[in-house]
């Protein structure tokens, strides 16, 4: 069964329901993290534990969505972006968003998926293998997402099989 690539509306609805605030999505160029650019990678696997999709968030989106879902003040997210490190609360919140995001893939007649691992954005950039996964071309959705009251960042959903 193929892996389902969620629509922009499904992604928006999930974020609006989770964050309880307005969210605006715009298409962006494929997110290509540089060698030292911090970015979050979430790995989703099928029932045979094969990696089928990844979600990649730039540092800004990682910090903003992790703050917004827990009503952490914007200043907390901005400090994390400045420091290029996500504090534990924001990191845990981000992981919860990415866990619930697994529901986006679970459309009828498609491969069942679950979150396997989240590697949060950290100073120094992503591991090289993670960067390759993030750069996979083909079926992907690259978005610039604005969270009302917080700001915008980049999120890419990338099917890797």
């Amino acid at each position: 069964m193929p892996t389902y690539l969620p629509t922009r509306k499904e992604i928006r609805d999930l974020l609006v329901d989770l964050l309880g605030r307005e969210v605006t999505l715009n298409q962006s160029a494929p997110f290509a993290p540089g060698p030292s650019e911090p970015a979050t990678l979430a790995v989703y696997v099928d029932d045979h534990l094969q990696t089928s999709a990844v979600v990649v968030c730039d540092l800004a989106f990682s910090a903003l969505v992790g703050a917004a879902i827990g009503l952490v003040p914007l200043a907390g997210a901005e400090a994390a972006i400045e420091a290029q490190e996500l504090p534990q609360t924001i990191s845990e919140n981000l992981a919860e968003v990415l866990n619930i995001a697994s529901s986006l893939f679970n459309a009828p007649e498609h491969e069942h998926m679950k979150l396997h691992e989240v590697r949060p954005a950290a100073k120094g950039g992503m591991a090289i293998n993670d960067r390759f996964l993030a750069l996979t071309l083909g079926r992907r959705e690259d978005l610039s997402i604005d969270i009302a009251g917080y700001g915008h960042g980049l999120l890419s959903i990338v099917l890797v099989r």
């Binding site: 609805d13 999930l14 329901d17 989770l18 309880g20 879902i69 827990g70 009503l71 845990e92 919140n93 919860e96 866990n99 619930i100 697994s102 529901s103 679970n106 069942h112 679950k114």
Partner: protein, 119 residues
């Protein structure tokens, strides 16, 4: 009414409590549990009027918590709020005695629909 919200994610417990408020269910005494074992102990000690529980939790998961409660004679109204709602999970929840299974993410309207007759 006392309501127990069980989820290993602190932020999800916050969101469940916020959604209860947004759905108009205010004035209740909400207690929080971090896993199924804590929820089980809390139900037996506190005798709440409702449990809203995640499915996957450390120590004891939600379905084992519900089955332990029923085995202990508790008939507390119990509903799942969980990140996945497959047909198999819904069937297991119903046969164990759950009133409903709400899949995350959820809205205030979803809470009103499922909890309107209880709260």
């Amino acid at each position: 009414m006392k309501i127990i919200v069980a989820d290993d994610s602190r932020v999800m417990r916050q969101i469940v409590v916020r959604t209860l408020r947004q759905a108009g269910f205010t004035g209740h005494d909400v207690l929080e549990a971090e896993n199924g074992k804590q929820c089980l102990d809390m139900v037996l000690a506190e005798q709440p009027g409702l449990v809203l529980s995640d499915w996957n939790m450390p120590e004891m998961n939600g379905i084992d918590c519900l089955q332990s409660l029923r085995a202990a004679g508790s008939q507390v109204p119990f509903g799942f709020v969980t990140s996945e709602g497959s047909d198999d999970m819904r069937a297991r929840a119903a046969s164990a005695g759950a009133l409903f299974l709400i899949a995350k993410p959820f809205s205030a309207e979803t809470f009103q629909e499922h909890l309107g007759g209880i709260l």
